[in-house]
Symmetry: C2
Subunit: 239 residues, 2 copies
């Protein structure tokens, strides 16, 4: 079983129930202190030993790929009912040493404070990294990450994706920081405010920030109905 060894967090339960040439890699993102973070694991065995990589595992034979991804995210971060979408398949011949393994990458967005990190048998560390300051990762994981960041830029303009990264009540600045982190550029605060509010996506909680050394911002939550409609039909957010 050691030839399968490197990707799994729970190697001991591997057996014929897993597809041994198709892995699922997860890009788990969160926002913390105004920065976009990605969760990485430091592996302890096999080709990946002592190196950082995405949160990967094998897909089960009787499990849809999405379900495999959701399971892995849950096992690692404890987060359920999350935003999760497929990035795509990565299948370069030499992406993995020795054997031909294809991976399907999924990305998910979680609330930083909700995540309770749990390592697997094959990893000895889990940590959040600033997405623009990641070390050299195993296999083609740097490529996958870059590809995902590109995809996020694309996505954030057409779906209210940002909201999966925030607590229930949040300020407009918190939301703006997500856009700035993903789009990699500063946005004008007054204009951002008007643009977002015009979508009718936010509901004013009639509450304000507390314990801040300046004028307290209003707290908002999002309108789930509008939120799901916008996710379905899309919108345009061109900056």
């Amino acid at each position: 079983m050691s030839d399968r060894g490197v990707l799994h967090l729970e190697e001991e339960i591997l057996g014929d129930d897993y597809i041994d040439n198709i892995s699922v890699d997860n890009l788990i993102f969160s926002m913390h202190e105004g920065k976009l973070k990605v969760l990485l694991a430091k592996y302890t065995q096999g080709y990946a030993s002592n190196q950082w990589g995405l949160i990967g595992h094998w897909a089960r034979l009787d499990e849809n790929l999405n379900d495999a991804a959701a399971r892995i995210v849950k096992q690692t971060s404890g987060v359920e009912n999350l935003f999760l979408d497929q990035l795509g398949a990565f299948g370069q011949v030499n992406r993995y040493p020795e054997r031909r393994i294809i991976t399907v990458a999924f990305y998910s967005l979680v609330i930083y404070d909700d995540a309770k990190l749990v390592g697997g048998k094959n990893t000895n560390e889990l940590a959040w990294f600033d997405v623009f300051e990641v070390p050299n990762l195993i296999f083609d994981h740097n490529v996958i990450l870059s590809s995902c960041l590109e995809h996020l830029k694309y996505k954030v303009r057409h779906e209210p994706i940002g909201f999966n990264l925030l607590p229930e009540k949040f300020t407009l600045l918190q939301l703006q920081e997500i856009y700035e982190a993903i789009l990699q550029k500063p946005l004008d605060k007054p204009n951002f405010r008007r643009k977002i509010l015009k979508m009718n996506l936010l509901i004013d909680c009639k509450e304000r920030q507390k314990n801040v050394a300046h004028r307290a911002a209003s707290l908002y939550r999002f309108d789930l109905d509008v939120y799901h409609k916008l996710r379905e039909f899309g919108f345009s957010f061109e900056y």
Copy 2:
């Protein structure tokens, strides 16, 4: 070998060189008479016998997934150097009977008149179908097609994707018809014209249509430099 049977066009050459649980399915599109068409094959063997499906095959062990897709498109349509992009992996447990097979879908855009259709050993017919009038397809191919059409709608607004479907010299109406076919709605001709021309993507050939029973339209070709820049950096085409 019959348990592998249904997806390949060239069954006779199958062997250990192929990955037997990962297939590549191709959505090959073209424009013809103002309609968006997709190429389908009627299979003759296995589970898919006598049914239409996408142009599928297995990936070789020593072949990148993209290369596999390009190879299949070339074998089937004769077209090389085409636009080809990955749609994503489809891996529902029951998408294929009996065995667990995951497919990676690719879509490509070809010029209708350039395609010289060549069937495989496993198919007895190849035909272009209007994308909105396809029959029931094998496995999850209808789902894959729907997903791809959605993706195209999304894509056509941000990249000059339409140009891969046209001959070197074309009229603005031909281009507009592509947008209308993909976006599924009529566009205003004068506004479309101005919008496209403002991108500086088109070069006036200083030629005109011939043998048309009305005022002849100018012929344009696209500026490859601008074209590639726009593909890289994207644009916004919101209708």
